[in-house]
Symmetry: C2
Subunit: 511 residues, 2 copies
């Protein structure tokens, strides 16, 4: 058994069954190995950032890592920005990168570069499986490190000679059991309880705290203490909709976030990072919690927020979240987006919404707050071009549940190639392109900077409507049917068509 | 004047007049500065790898650097593979990357990453312009290092607070004169002359040696010594066609290259790297020159090959290249590609051909060997997705001369967004997509590995025909007219149409 076969066999034995691939010559033995060692399904992407973004989306829904397969340093570089996003989402990804044979690196052939340096910028672990090493152990360690304790991108560089050479067969330990979850100690629980009882206190939720039992427990705690439930501006997987515990979203705009947290006496962090501004401004602090506000960390972002919140709810004797659930009768303020309203009437229970709507996101979220319960995936690293790839990976994990992607036109163009993989794999992904013909978020920045009228360079950089992008043609060029809509009725009809078809559909929403 | 304005003014004063941009919030002050400090033209790309590949193409034709404008680490990452290609082409690129304000980096906001580490993987120089530093001097040094002595990618990180803060005004030295070109010493010239007189010797040409006066001198040397003129497998700019000195191309496939150089007693390197295999194989050496073959370096890849070859021609008393020019009467062997023949009859003198045809490249090159004189740009770093961006940049430098891009369908999908910039800037670029519905180069690898029949993973990874990519729709979706052709007559007609239109056109060539 050669090294490539050993890697594939180890991946499968450790529970990795999907390989999101954009391979080249150095990865040919790995491809061949997938055909001799069963259990690892290859899905091709036409660009590496589709493969890596799909690995992020897959991990968020499946709760376990997929592998990638990338071609040397440039292949890794192409996929790096969505690995950055995955890393910020604490998504486990087993990132396999082919490398030149070890002796060949010294010759500085055209594709040679410092792959480890690239991988280290996004990774929790980076290693090279040298020929003669214990390849199965190296692979198993990579997978284990991707899983945690802080999950993330673990990269295994596989030199071509490792892949093609006979590997020493050594048994790999069976996958270790998950470590028992750590519950905060009594002092932390008491500090959190005391903090939350202060008027205006905030239970700040992120990562594992905005879903499932953790979210239910947070709702009970809020009901018992009177604390507000505020979520991170973005979260990897947020459960929301009718009957769910309501979580207010901390605004993206730092001035609005500062206003929201102004006067808050205490922030209890449950699976959340302490909030900071996305970007600095000359006249504004970067930390978003006010001076004098106490921070109590109940659970770190990678920790078991569910166990921590359940323990706190128990300590508080908090048994009911009735008052903090979302009910049909409570329309969210600002929910007058016609896109959001059409979406709200179309969402089906259990569906997955991948949100890269940027400047439209808040209004759409308000309108869908009382829609049937659904999962919402958000961009954690801020690098745009995450939506279509993440939706592709989410659909690969979701067992036929529909996925609806909301993307701005500017963002969509970074990774539009994801549509082709959706078509090839016949994935039930409906992609809404919200086409405003601008990098609207930058227009808002320009307005804030009081650049008016914008000069030609600013105009050239912010407006993408000349020539006009026709996403219906782009989609159909990649095998995905496309529709173009201009109002809520047309959008609802197109969404219904997409949900019936159970395959990919693109809807260009002109605004 | 703030830091951003100082950077822009310094770029302009040092001869940089084009900025290939994909900006974000951190770059807003730079955009505003381009509108207050005249002379730097902004051209928007919808993906960073289009911007960086265009900077490579621009530098090759203009002979001077353009700047980029990229958004933090993920923006740089997205453009990194074409910076890798630019770096391998010794193309000067002034790579401007916005960064968070210095104090904001410590807060580890979502877009924070190690930008310098990324930049160092492709760069001749990487620096951060900290607030309070001499910003004009930092900018001028970056430009100077991009220019040489070894030209390449020089990165200037511009933190947001440097951009928005008042910069100290200090005079910048005028641009230094080019250093006098160094001519090889007499001993090297004599060694080269003696080596080339041996039967079977090769004058191995690369970079500056395959164009202009350098190429003419190489022809005279070959005629005088009987040495063969062999070029690197790829070169940044190759002059070829009717009346030009003929240069044989070292084959891409290592086994064919080894056969060509077998028995060669001496290789005189003029602007060329000593040839190595693109990829290692278990049964094959990585160095392509045979044991016992003498290597004489007349000029390093970044050195003044023209001065060196002129000096050698003088020393040899070599006055005529008549015997080694390309004439109409000499069809190149293997020139029976119908694509190549249609192209040969359509090329106009002085046009630019950007070659990313991969498995079709050799046959097309044979067919166009006696076409009107033209420039050929090739991929130097091996990372695919270089063609459409490089053509975009070449056209921005070429003052209306037509550019014809040859790209395989697989390669084209990496950076298809370049078409939009071609449409927006109304660039006379004709893009030929040679659609064989496969990563054909990997199919050849699979055949060589004797993987037959290929299993499902191999099949999935190599074949991109299901669903079929319709490049006409993709082009029209980005504002570029498209045609689809199936034979030489249709192709010639479409090429004629494109040349008449003097704007972008895409031709899908089904093979």
């Amino acid at each position: 058994m050669n090294g490539a076969e050993t890697v594939v066999r180890t991946l499968v034995s450790q529970g990795v069954d999907l390989c999101l691939a954009n391979p080249g010559t150095s990865e040919m033995h790995f491809l061949a190995a997938m055909d001799t060692q069963p259990g690892l399904r290859a899905v091709l992407a036409l660009h590496e950032n589709v493969a890596t973004g799909a690995a992020d989306g897959f991990a968020r829904i499946a709760g376990r890592p997929a592998s990638t397969l990338l071609h040397l340093g440039p292949g890794l570089a192409n996929g790096l920005s969505n690995l950055h996003n995955a890393s910020r989402a604490l998504s486990p990804v087993v990132n396999i990168v082919g490398d030149h044979a070890v002796a060949h690196r010294r010759l500085d052939a055209p594709l040679t570069s410092d792959i480890e340096a690239l991988a280290r910028t996004v990774g929790v672990a980076t290693r090279t499986a040298l020929p003669g090493a214990d390849i199965a152990a190296e692979t198993a360690s990579t997978i284990a490190q991707a899983r945690g304790p802080v999950p993330g991108v673990a990269t295994l560089l596989l030199p071509a000679d490792t892949a093609w050479s006979e590997a020493t067969e050594r048994p790999v330990a069976a996958r270790a059991a998950e470590p028992p979850s750590a519950v905060p100690d009594a002092a932390t629980l008491d500090a959190a309880a005391a903090a939350l009882r202060q008027p205006g206190a905030v239970l700040f939720l992120g990562f594992g705290a905005v879903r499932g039992e953790a979210l239910e427990a947070a709702g009970r705690i809020a009901a018992a203490t009177g604390a507000a439930l505020v979520g991170q501006t973005t979260n990897p997987v947020l459960e929301r909709g009718l009957g769910r515990v309501c979580v207010e979203r901390l605004p993206f705009a730092a001035d609005a976030a500062l206003r929201r947290l102004c006067g808050v006496p205490a922030l209890v962090l449950a699976g959340a990072r302490a909030p900071v501004a996305f970007f600095a401004r000359p006249d504004q602090p970067g930390r978003l919690w006010p001076p004098g506000c106490a921070l109590v960390e109940l659970a770190a972002p990678h920790a078991d927020a569910q166990a921590a919140l359940l323990a706190l709810a128990d300590r508080l004797g908090a048994h009911s979240a009735a008052g903090v659930r979302r009910h049909q009768a409570e329309p969210a303020p600002g929910g007058d987006s016609w896109i959001g309203q059409a979406l709200a009437s179309s969402l089906v229970e259990g569906c997955i919404v991948v949100d890269e709507a940027l400047t439209h996101a808040v209004a759409i979220a308000a309108a869908t707050a009382s829609a049937p319960p659904h999962l919402c995936l958000q961009n954690m690293g801020g690098s745009i071009g995450y939506g279509a790839p993440a939706a592709t990976g989410a659909a690969l994990a979701a067992g036929g549940r529909p996925v609806i992607t909301l993307i701005g036109d500017g963002s969509a163009m970074y990774t539009i190639q994801a549509l082709w993989t959706q078509a090839r794999e016949r994935l039930p992904v409906i992609t809404l392109i919200i086409a405003n013909r601008a990098y609207r978020i930058l227009e808002l920045e320009a307005a804030r900077m009081q650049v008016h009228p914008p000069g030609p360079a600013m105009q050239a950089a912010l407006h993408i409507g000349a020539p006009d992008l026709n996403f219906v043609q782009l989609a159909e060029g990649m095998g995905v049917p496309g529709r173009r809509v201009h109002n809520a009725a047309q959008l609802a009809a197109a969404l219904a068509e997409g949900l019936r078809a159970r395959g990919p559909l693109l809807i260009q929403v002109d605004v």
